[in-house]
């Protein structure tokens, strides 16, 4: 508030310096927000595309799995899939998008390649379902990476937007108001001084 500040030259210099920093920060944050929004829109398009692919693939695999379940029986199916298929070969890292560290996943080519059960007591439908799932897995990894990136970018854009708005609509206008108040106060003091000096000169001259 303009009324609570000290109308001194020192305060004016300090406020001008702060205003300069705030304006520069505002510009940088606005650029960051625009950059992130651009990246976000690209990622969200990819997300929708991958989601569609994955959900279609999963529905297909579930249908085949259900056919396998009716052909083999619940118990036999459970027994066939009891043993794990081995570890997946995925390497995780991170990359920087506008100072947001987002995950990157990369398959090293050693994802499950073969069926994790014997062929004696299993049906053809189960083989098809498992192979569909194995083939779908790289897309599932891409979706995981993309969806997390979207979540993180959305959260960061929201934070940045709040900062930009706070600077644009609260901090910068308040600083400008305060600077105007101090400038006017200092000019007023200056005028008072001149008037006083003129009065003193007049008194001295009249003696």
């Amino acid at each position: 508030m303009a009324k609570q500040i000290n109308p001194t030259r020192m305060e004016l210099t300090r406020l001008k310096r702060r205003l300069k920093t705030a304006s520069r920060g505002h510009k940088l944050l606005k650029d960051k927000q625009n950059g992130m929004t651009k990246q976000f829109m690209e990622q969200i398009r990819r997300n929708r595309e991958l989601r569609g692919k994955v959900e279609a693939g999963l529905a297909e695999a579930a249908k085949q799995f259900s056919a396998a379940s009716s052909a083999m029986g619940e118990k036999e199916l459970g027994e066939a899939l009891l043993l794990p298929a081995g570890e997946i070969g995925v390497t995780g890292g991170s990359k920087n998008i506008m100072s947001v560290q987002v995950p990157t996943l990369c398959s090293d080519g050693s994802l499950a390649q073969s069926l994790p059960y014997g062929f004696a007591d299993t049906s053809y439908e189960l083989d098809t379902a498992t192979l569909t799932m194995i083939r779908l897995f790289p897309t599932l990894l891409q979706l995981a990476e993309c969806e997390k990136t979207c979540d993180m970018l959305a959260s960061e854009i929201e934070k940045t937007r709040r900062r930009v708005n706070a600077l644009e609509h609260v901090m910068i206008p308040e600083m400008e108001r305060n600077i105007k108040f101090i400038t006017m106060k200092l000019e007023d003091n200056e005028r008072q001084n001149i008037t006083r000096l003129m009065k003193v000169k007049e008194v001295i001259n009249s003696r």
Binding site: F40, I44, F65, G86, P103
Partner: protein, 106 residues
């Protein structure tokens, strides 16, 4: 962050999770003793960086998901289960767009 080998897990009912097991994903099912939220924290502590979770359980554990929102790992992704009608993923995408842009443009 340096690159490291990732483990993947799925939290879901056996009917959904068994398929993922065939692709090399470790299968976990919440029980009365351990809720989906606790299971997420436990799996992350055990080194699982990619956690797929059935939509029904995902809705119940959004507090745990929020906890890891600003960190690249673990990646917690909802996958459709028996109760899914295909709208939840669309709702999530729309919510993200609204959060980032202010309105659902797409």
């Amino acid at each position: 962050m340096t690159e490291r080998k990732m483990k993947a897990a799925i939290i879901g009912p056996k009917s959904v999770a068994a398929l993922y097991g065939a692709a090399g994903v470790a299968v976990f099912e919440p029980s009365d003793d351990i809720s989906p939220s606790k299971l997420i924290s436990k799996l992350y502590a055990d080194g699982y960086g990619i956690i797929f979770i059935a939509e029904t359980y995902y809705r119940k554990s959004e507090d745990a998901v929020k906890k890891y929102l600003n960190e690249p790992y673990p990646i917690i992704i909802p996958v459709p289960d028996d109760n899914s009608d295909g709208t939840y993923s669309k709702e999530r995408i729309a919510a993200n767009i609204k959060k980032a842009i202010g309105s659902d443009l797409i």
